[in-house]
């Protein structure tokens, strides 16, 4: 069906995710998506908050250990959670069906959420946050 749409110039629908709760019992729902991280040991899916306010994708300590990320030069980042140490890694990830190589900031602590940031990701899509419907679309 995709060839039919391309032939007649019908726009791609893209991939849509429904807003979801980050934790049980929470009232608010957030724009989340499932990102498949690929590493030498195999693939792993993580539910990440799509954060247009984050320059870079952020992974907590446990996620980086699971993905066998490397401890490169330790840097610090400031944000709403305060000052956090992190290591920059480049990793392959599948976002909305597209395989990308994205920079990730692997935090030195577990008290940070899984955030999908802009670098390497947002410039590959037209991302629409439809707050009324509670959906986020990647096209």
């Amino acid at each position: 069906m995709n060839w039919f749409k391309r032939l007649f110039g019908i726009q791609r629908e893209g991939v849509t995710y429904k807003y979801d709760k980050i934790i049980d019992g929470e009232v608010n729902k957030h724009p989340v998506c499932i990102v498949t991280f690929k590493n030498s040991g195999g693939n792993v899916d993580l539910k990440m908050l799509v954060d247009s306010g984050a320059d870079i994708t952020l992974l907590p300590k446990w996620a980086g250990e699971m993905l066998n990320l490397k401890r490169t030069d330790l840097k610090y980042i400031g944000g709403i959670a305060g000052r956090i140490g992190y290591y920059i890694n480049y990793t392959n990830a599948v976002v909305a069906g597209e395989t990308l190589t994205i920079p990730v900031a692997w935090a030195t602590q577990d008290t940070v959420p899984l955030l999908l940031g802009r670098q390497g990701v947002f410039d590959k899509f037209v991302i629409t946050f439809n707050e009324k419907k509670g959906e986020i679309n990647f096209k």
Binding site: I22, I23, H30, V44, D45, K47, M66
Partner: protein, 77 residues
């Protein structure tokens, strides 16, 4: 040849995300890891590497979805 095959809805296999959405995470301990896959919950516990290694041996063709149960008062903002 069935000319009306295109009208049939393709069968969609359940995914790990579908399983996760139906799961009540409140019955798991805070900071525990829960590993989902297309057929259900593979396992849960506090030692993630062990669970993932076992998962890969049992289901090499599948991709696990890992969720860490956050504290109840965890807030993003």
């Amino acid at each position: 040849m069935n000319l009306f095959n295109f009208l049939k809805k393709p069968k969609v296999e359940p995914t790990a995300q579908d399983v996760m959405k139906k799961t009540d995470l409140s019955k798991y301990k805070v900071h525990e890891y829960v590993v989902f896959y297309s057929k259900g919950i593979y396992g849960h516990g506090e030692k993630l590497p062990g669970i993932i290694d076992e998962f890969r041996k049992d289901h090499p063709e599948e991709t696990p979805l890992v969720v860490k149960v956050p504290p109840k008062k965890f807030a993003l903002h």
